[in-house]
């Protein structure tokens, strides 16, 4: 058998739209995506929401490894790739083919950023995720590190080992480690935002203001019928 799985899946016409949000923890991306989802659902659009590291099959195993603190960067990276592939093969791709609007809270760019910061080879990581289709739009939530860290720490007193990047030996203090880890991830996002053509959202703005911006951008991607109806609704 000489067929290539990538060619087959990529040649099926997609009617759906893939919309992605990226950014560090506390950048406000999840709040915005949830609001976007509410809006699309209220307009009777077929919507599917998926978030990073959420495949039930893979989650149990990752959890076990994380608890024992014995995950090396390569294993860590591959487990996240497994999680992504599972959601991709079973949900994201079939739903896009069926015409759904798929909303992804983090996508392959999260893997690029985190794995590269953990010391994996950038080309190796990118090639692994090569099967993933390019989203219609990627919103990157840009926010100063202090604001993001404050938002996270005010709601969550204790940081988990990998979340704080403790495996990187950046600092013995989890909070300091977290800060350094997140700022390195920001550096990666910054370089990706150019090469991958991210749409930048100012994460310090008011929630309503950002949401208006997201909706106006998403509107451009939707079928004409939807857009017209929506214009009429807005005029009333």
């Amino acid at each position: 058998m000489s067929y290539n799985m990538n060619d087959i899946t990529k040649s099926i016409p997609r009617q759906g739209k893939l919309i992605v949000v990226e950014g560090i923890d506390g950048s406000g991306k999840s709040t915005q995506l949830r609001l976007l989802e509410k809006w699309l659902v209220s307009r009777n659009m077929p919507v599917f929401f998926t978030e990073w590291n959420s495949s039930e099959t893979v989650k149990q195993i990752t959890k076990k490894g994380k608890k024992s603190g014995q995950l090396t960067p390569i294993t860590f990276s591959l487990l996240h790739a497994t999680d992504f592939a599972d959601r991709y093969e079973r949900n994201i791709l079939p739903l896009l083919h069926a015409g759904y609007i798929v909303l992804a809270d983090r996508y392959v760019y999260t893997a690029y950023a985190r794995d590269i910061v953990r010391g994996c080879n950038p080309n190796w990581v990118k090639k692994i995720y090569e099967f993933a289709i390019k989203p219609e739009i990627v919103f990157y939530f840009k926010v100063p590190i202090d604001i993001a860290v404050d938002r996270i720490l005010s709601g969550r007193p204790r940081l988990k080992y990998y979340e704080a990047g403790m495996d990187l030996n950046l600092s013995n203090d989890p909070y300091e480690s977290y800060r350094i880890f997140q700022s390195r991830i920001i550096e990666q996002y910054e370089s990706l935002s150019v090469s991958e053509n991210f749409t930048i959202v100012d994460g310090t703005r008011e929630i309503e203001e950002s949401q208006r911006f997201l909706r106006s951008m998403v509107m451009k991607l939707l079928p004409l019928k939807f857009t017209k109806k929506n214009r009429r609704l807005r005029r009333q």
């Binding site: 058998m1 067929y3 290539n4 799985m5 990538n6 099959t57 893979v58 149990q60 195993i61 076990k64 490894g65 024992s68 014995q70 995950l71 090396t72 960067p73 390569i74 294993t75 591959l78 487990l79 790739a81 497994t82 592939a85 599972d86 991709y88 093969e89 079973r90 010391g119 994996c120 080879n121 080309n123 190796w124 090639k127 692994i128 090569e130 099967f131």
Partner: protein
């Protein structure tokens, strides 16, 4: 990048990176003192038997031996079995799952063993994983990249058994054909026996294709256990002898 000067079985000196592709950056400068031997081959080809025999012989000769193999990692191995039992995972997902399991074994078992000077005997390695992926339509360049962090073994043997002969060995061992070892997910044939033979032929073809690139030594596995044992031992002894001389 770390290089080692190795002497091939033909006695030719070669310098090669100790990893196949992009090395694991934080492992680039490790020093490998042990020897790394891989035995590949389908189920019922006599792999485990040969590894047992080899281990005893090497230990009797005074070497420290460590056994490794696919699907042995404590971290993930069990999860793969469960997931497969539920028939839910896609092909890329299964590949990545196996790769994660392999990475865990490599970093937590094989590499530490080799650094400590053990002879590590691996019951299958990345070649089986790559062959399975290839017959399932996954591009070989993707697989090669995926396993680029794998350490290059010193010797790789492939126990080559005629699939028609293999069937009988499987029946002798189990009296039934395993779902995955028969490639049932590929829907090659409704007839399980036919599907098994067709699938094993496809895998064998992939091994032949990989032989040159990865320096895989094909061993005629249709012979008796003791004949194969003699053959393997002779080759390994010659290899170890060669190292001492130079």
């Amino acid at each position: 990048m770390n290089y080692q000067t190795i002497r091939s079985l033909k006695g030719k000196k070669m310098r090669k990176g100790i990893f196949y592709g992009h090395a694991i950056p934080y492992l680039e400068d490790i020093e490998i003192k042990g020897r790394f031997i891989v035995i590949e081959g389908p189920d019922a080809s006599g792999r485990s038997t040969q590894i047992e025999l080899l281990s005893s012989k090497l230990e009797a000769d005074g070497h420290a031996v460590l056994n490794a193999g696919l699907r042995r990692s404590e971290l993930i191995g069990q999860g793969i079995l469960e997931a497969k039992r539920n028939f839910v995972l896609g092909r890329k997902t299964i590949s990545l799952f196996y790769a994660a399991d392999f990475a865990d074994q490599l970093e937590n078992k094989i590499i530490p063993g080799l650094r400590a000077g053990y002879i590590v005997l691996s019951d299958r390695y990345i070649y089986t994983l790559m062959a399975r992926e290839a017959v399932r339509g996954i591009s070989s360049s993707w697989s090669r990249n995926l396993y680029g962090f794998a350490l290059r073994p010193d010797i790789v043997f492939y126990l080559d058994v005629d699939p028609n002969e293999l069937v009988h060995r499987v029946f002798k061992k189990n009296s039934y054909l395993d779902y995955y070892e028969s490639g049932t997910d590929l829907r090659l044939s409704d007839n399980m026996l036919e599907s098994f033979v067709m699938y094993q032929k496809l895998l064998r073809k992939e091994f032949n294709r990989m032989q040159k690139r990865y320096n895989i030594i094909s061993i005629n596995g249709n012979r008796s256990i003791s004949e194969i044992k003699e053959d393997l031992q002779k080759r390994i002894d010659a290899y170890l002898q060669n190292l001492q001389n130079y």
